[in-house]
Symmetry: C2
Subunit: 321 residues, 2 copies
């Protein structure tokens, strides 16, 4: 790698002018046109080599097991931020990125990651308005994104006893590949926030159990969840060697599913499920339980309508420290 000015110039040349915001990238700050709304969403996520992904030996082909391609890593860096905006029912507007790049690291790798990010950038019509590159011992990509809120912002708090609990897609086994290639639920989140009134919403990054816990605690409510209703992904089934318990464990706790978890007033149930099937025929929508007035954060588990007196699964997934 020559120097950061050269790389910044290369990256800039990859980004179509129409996606660089109101002025070309290269000033001290970028500029984007904000809608006349008064409230904007603002989120940030960083992914780090050795924590969120592994890079194989440079140039090894095919890449060793467990490692990710620059395309997958670029995709993930941007998609996790889009997923945050989706979880608020918002529309992404603009983002900036900072990169940590080791000395002598191939520029080509960075370019490939950036090119992949452009696919998502185009697909969700979000402007890439600037960035910063620094030397670092390990690769990291930190992205910050601003979005437009829906008319009614959907928060983690707001769930009320009696609400149904829904989850999009299927859960578990994300480590087998989905965590690097998932489609952020931007369209689904906007659809929900604009056409219905979800009372609370979160994206599943830490795992269903933990993230449902975050939502319930923020809402100061409890929940009843039916294990038979948890949508288990094929990857989780494959990794479970015929054990339903192992498959459920993965779906409940392993995290990085980046599906939406939300609560809805019962009166909207029929209308939502019908409209959903029409609008997103390829995306499963599962009602997995309901909100209760139990102790904040407490989940009562059921399996085939029978209460689970002893939990046989771990509740926590990945922790950073």
């Amino acid at each position: 790698m020559k120097n950061e000015f050269h790389l910044i110039k290369r990256l800039k040349s990859l980004i179509p002018r129409s996606l660089q915001g109101s002025i070309p990238i290269g000033d001290d700050a970028g500029i984007f046109r904000a809608p006349p709304d008064k409230s904007l969403l603002f989120t940030t996520d960083v992914i780090v080599e050795g924590v969120d992904f592994l890079i194989g030996k440079r140039g090894a082909s095919p890449p060793p097991a467990g490692t990710a391609s620059p395309e997958e890593i670029g995709h993930k860096a941007l998609a996790v931020n889009l997923s945050d905006i989706a979880a608020m029912g918002g529309r992404p507007l603009a983002f900036v990125s900072t990169w940590g790049i080791p000395k002598k690291f191939p520029e080509k790798w960075v370019e490939r990651a950036a090119k992949e990010m452009l696919h998502l950038t185009r697909r969700f019509k979000v402007d890439w308005v600037g960035g910063d590159i620094s030397r670092a011992n390990q690769v990291f990509i930190s992205i910050a994104m601003v979005g437009r809120a829906s008319k009614k912002v959907v928060l983690r708090k707001g769930a009320k006893p009696g609400d149904f609990i829904y989850v999009t897609g299927k859960l578990g086994g994300s480590i087998k590949g989905k965590h690097l290639s998932f489609t952020p639920r931007i369209l689904e989140g906007q659809f929900l926030a604009s056409r219905f009134t979800p009372t609370a919403m979160i994206d599943i990054s830490d795992g269903f159990v933990q993230d449902l816990g975050h939502l319930l605690k923020a809402s100061k409510v409890g929940a009843r969840v039916e294990l038979e209703s948890i949508p288990i992904s094929n990857a989780a089934w494959r990794g479970a060697r015929r054990s339903r318990r192992r498959a459920l464990q993965s779906a409940l706790s392993y995290g990085e599913d980046f599906e939406l978890l939300f609560t809805l007033r019962p009166a909207q149930r029929v209308k939502l499920e019908k409209a959903w099937r029409k609008r997103f025929p390829g995306v499963l929508l599962s009602c997995v339980g309901e909100v209760t007035n139990s102790k904040p954060g407490k989940i009562d588990w059921f399996d085939g309508r029978k209460p689970l007196t002893k939990l046989w699964f771990q509740k926590t997934g990945f922790a950073h420290f």
Copy 2:
């Protein structure tokens, strides 16, 4: 350090609710109130241990030479972003932060850095609306900030032949301490952009010569610069062991001064200098040269009005790779 949830909770508890934006920190995205303007500034900068700062052995007191305290590092992380907003003549609105923290790193260090950031947050009335923490091999802090543009955004391009070239404060020797403690020129940048019409502006991060070069190339103009007018800091003088050349070298190229460098139509000169002395009596303002129609980016150097035929100083300062 226990885990990231614990630390995030601690950090959140340090930030007054009034500085957390429209909703308390802890949802998938923060929310801030944007002014009705249609254009917003968006910038990001990352600082990395071993590149932008050194951390001493934990707990060593006093810290070893060359190392920085958590307060200084927190200050710098935020101040460099504020400086970018200042360079566009903008007003900061909200920011988010991502942190890379090594395993077993003291939580207290992170808290001290964050507390110091709150001083700048309060001083410039900017909301801290969210963040992310990841494990990493070396400490890094990446901040992204959104700001409100002045009525007329000041870019790097726009300088015209005949414009005067100004620099705020004094240059050089920043490595001796100023790079960790400088006050971002937010007030000065807003004053310039709202009361005058600077034709181009940039903050000096890479060094006077390089950053003037960026401004001139963006504006497709050249410049004439008088060495006798370059404001040399006391730190640069002290480090120069009585050599004017060494002092100038530091002022011209070492970078991280985070002063504003801007160009102005000659007709505004008298009015600006008078208003400046009244508004910022403690901040030197120096006219160091003028814009020419020479080759884009070309600087003709003068010393005591005599053209410099042979440059005795290096033009480039710090490079990351």
